[in-house]
């Protein structure tokens, strides 16, 4: 068969125009996200279901790499003038997005303008609080939420003579249990992923102790860190002491160390509740999870934990019609039955009160208690200024700075107090740097 160049070109143009044709009839909504594996399937399925449910709009999801990659891709696209409509941003990027008021469209405003029924009170406050202003105005739409919980290996508990049905509740009890567990797992009594999220951020909220002034930065960018207070110093000092004989063993800054739990090496492991899918698929032992431990002598503990995960931000400068489509999509996501399905199938936390109640009433949690643990923890008490969420500009990099100081302390280079003092002063420098760029 022979083609001449012209007919090939013609065919290409024809194919291209065919591909574009349906898009002209529909309004396309770009959705940039950072989900991989099973979570990516959830996103694709949601988009497909929404696209099949109506004809006017077409949601087009696109994977943009890690959370940090996705945020940066969104920022770069905004600078180039072609930002997506919906951008998935992890919780620590919240202040960055909020600081860019001209670049975003607050979700609550958008829903109102599009005429969608929207009641911010229908959503779980422990989740939406993180993404709202102090006045309660919801800025972004929570999508995948989780919280830090304590996972434990029941088989190892039995071998070490501990009762797997009564996991330790307080930090001193965890330390005791870990010392006993060292007999059966000599290289690691307990460990945590996300070293700063679990041992600084969650620790503060769970003990109703502030991480920084101005309600953890919620009331303004001129906030100062307070993580060198007695609670944080005591906890870090305990970790330093226990690191010496590996009763506690450091597992890195992110969740790359989670394999140490599923492989059976670390019998107690604190990390995200979203670890569920991984544990279910890979742990070849009987496991369970429970709420985070606390120090019983701290007044008000346990308070409530804070969330992790990501929310959907709507970018500014789009057409009215496109915002209508985004609003319709968010209403679609908030649907009770869809939330129930998402929660029970994927392990994401439900974002509406109605969905949570419905799952509770169905008796699902009696068979799957691990999925309720983060919810019990998030809703333990009415959130306070210390436990509503965090709003620190540049927290992505500040976390690295904190982790550096913690690493320095765990190797014995610095005392707990010295490390946290440095974490505060270096963190404050970065807060001022952020303030310097947003306030001009």
């Amino acid at each position: 068969m022979k083609f001449d160049r012209r007919s090939l070109l013609g065919a290409a143009v024809l194919a291209a125009s065919l591909g574009v044709a349906p898009a002209q009839a529909q309004t396309e909504i770009q959705w940039w996200h950072a989900m991989t594996g099973a979570n990516n399937d959830v996103i694709v399925r949601l988009a497909e279901e929404f696209n099949a449910s109506q004809k006017d709009y077409k949601v087009v999801p696109a994977y943009k790499g890690s959370y940090a990659d996705t945020l940066n891709a969104g920022i770069a696209a905004f600078r180039a003038g072609n930002a997506p409509h919906i951008l998935q941003v992890f919780e620590v990027g919240t202040a960055t997005m909020m600081g860019a008021r001209g670049a975003i469209k607050p979700v609550q405003d958008m829903m109102k303008e599009a005429g969608e029924t929207f009641d911010p009170k229908a959503y779980l406050p422990a989740i939406t609080g993180y993404y709202s202003t102090t006045k309660g105005e919801m800025l972004s739409f929570p999508f995948n939420s989780s919280s830090a919980v304590m996972w434990f290996n029941k088989d190892k508990f039995r071998q070490a003579g501990l009762n797997p049905d009564q996991p330790p509740k307080t930090w001193p009890e965890v330390f005791e249990a870990a010392k006993k567990l060292k007999a059966v797992s000599p290289t690691c009594g307990f460990s945590t992923a996300w070293i700063t999220w679990v041992n600084i951020e969650q620790l503060g909220a769970w003990h109703n102790t502030p991480l920084g002034t101005k309600a953890n930065g919620m009331d303004g960018f001129d906030t100062q860190f307070q993580i060198n207070g007695p609670l944080f110093v005591r906890h870090l000092q305990n970790l330093i002491d226990l690191q010496k004989d590996k009763t506690f063993d450091y597992s890195g800054r992110t969740n790359t160390g989670e394999g140490r739990f599923t492989s059976g090496e670390c019998p107690i492991f604190m990390t995200s509740s979203a670890f569920f899918g991984n544990v279910k698929a890979n742990a070849k032992f009987e496991w369970g999870n429970t709420v985070l431990p606390y120090y019983p002598d701290v007044a008000g503990a346990p308070q409530n934990s804070i969330i992790g995960g990501a929310s959907l931000w709507v970018m500014g400068g789009k057409k009215v019609d496109e915002y209508k489509g985004v609003a319709k999509f968010f209403t679609f996501l908030s649907n009770v039955d869809r939330q129930v399905k998402l929660h029970t199938e994927s392990g994401y936390l439900p974002i509406t009160k109605a969905a949570y109640e419905k799952v509770k009433a169905s008796g699902f949690y009696t068979q799957n208690p691990h999925l309720e643990t983060p919810l019990l923890q998030l809703n333990n008490k009415e959130p306070t200024d210390n436990s509503r969420g965090l709003r620190f500009g540049g927290l992505v990099q500040i976390r690295d700075v904190w982790a550096e100081e913690v690493e320095g302390a765990l190797t014995g280079k610095k005392s707990a107090k010295e490390a946290l003092d440095a974490a505060v002063s270096r963190g404050n420098d970065m807060l001022r740097q952020f303030e310097r760029t947003v306030s001009r």
């Binding site: 905004f78 600078r79 860019a100 450091y250 090496e265 100081e405 320095g408």
Partner: protein, 293 residues
């Protein structure tokens, strides 16, 4: 009679040069100029507000002890990588230059790692040396050695130096091998007849005659460790623990990307650019004098 081609008019030579000049301007001078411009600005990540601040970003940068620390880290890292990758590559090249069986096979195998992307190299080594699951760290643990690059800076530095060296050996090997093959056999044979042993022949004849290659590789390697090792560090240690492996180029990335501080990050790139220009100039000015072409 002398034969000479004379081009009339100035247009043709410029036209012939144009593609190369265009590439240089678009891909080198333009981005470099952008970096210099950005380093004088304070801007939020989204580019919503911009202010021209002259040298404020540089002042902030040079007032921070972390920046000097990253300079020291870079110096240690680059001298280790340059030394090991050059010396190991030379050793291998000298061995592969002999007449042995399967020489071609060995040569091909030695060149392979160069085709591996830096990030992949970092991940490969990370897997082998991951403290709890890595195959080599498990062996070391059995042997009673506590390997922990997550907390020990010296271990983390060893890890990135090993991966960066391994990656660069192939490139150096290739050039050394070509350099060795260009040395006239007659010179070496003459020395051998005069009774010089292999070690002496190497140091008095081969090594000096190789010096143009060594010098070229030194320059290339320094540039490599300054810029191209970024992927390895990002994949293996993310600059940790406690900034133990944070080189200057990694700091440019973490401040600009994770920190959203584009002005400060651009100021660092400009400093880095100046350092590399100076280093290369010094090498050409002083080291090159000792090179025998």
């Amino acid at each position: 009679m002398e034969k000479r081609v004379v081009f009339n008019g100035r247009l043709l030579p410029y036209l012939l040069l144009a593609p190369q000049l265009l590439i240089t301007v678009v891909f080198f001078y333009w981005p470099a100029g952008q970096a210099v411009l950005q380093s004088f600005l304070v801007q939020d990540a989204f580019g919503l507000s911009t202010e021209f601040v002259w040298f404020e970003n540089y002042q902030v940068l040079f007032s921070k002890p972390e920046y000097y620390k990253s300079m020291v880290t870079t110096a240690i890292f680059s001298s280790l990588v340059a030394f090991f990758s050059l010396s190991i590559a030379l050793l291998l090249a000298v061995q592969a230059d002999r007449h042995i069986k399967f020489a071609a096979g060995y040569k091909t195998l030695l060149i392979w790692p160069y085709a591996v992307a830096p990030a992949v190299a970092g991940v490969l080594w990370l897997f082998m040396f991951q403290p709890s699951l890595g195959i080599i760290s498990q062996t070391m643990r059995v042997a009673g050695f506590e390997w922990n690059p997550l907390l020990r800076q010296d271990h983390a530095m060893t890890l990135v130096v090993m991966s960066a060296t391994w990656k660069q050996i192939s490139y150096n090997f290739l050039f050394f091998l070509a350099g060795l093959q260009a040395i006239p056999k007659s010179v070496i044979e003459a020395a051998a007849i005069d009774g010089a042993r292999p070690a002496r022949r190497f140091w008095t004849i081969i090594f000096p005659l190789l010096s143009p290659t060594t010098f070229f590789l030194l320059v290339v390697n320094i540039v490599y460790v300054f810029f191209d090792t970024f992927g390895i560090i990002d994949a293996a240690t993310q600059g940790g623990p406690a900034k133990g492996t944070e080189t200057m180029v990694y700091k440019v990335y973490s401040d600009g990307r994770s920190g959203g501080d584009l002005g400060g990050s651009a100021a660092q790139s400009v400093v880095l650019m100046v350092i590399v220009i100076l280093l290369t100039a010094i090498q050409f000015r002083y080291v090159e004098r000792k090179v025998q072409y």
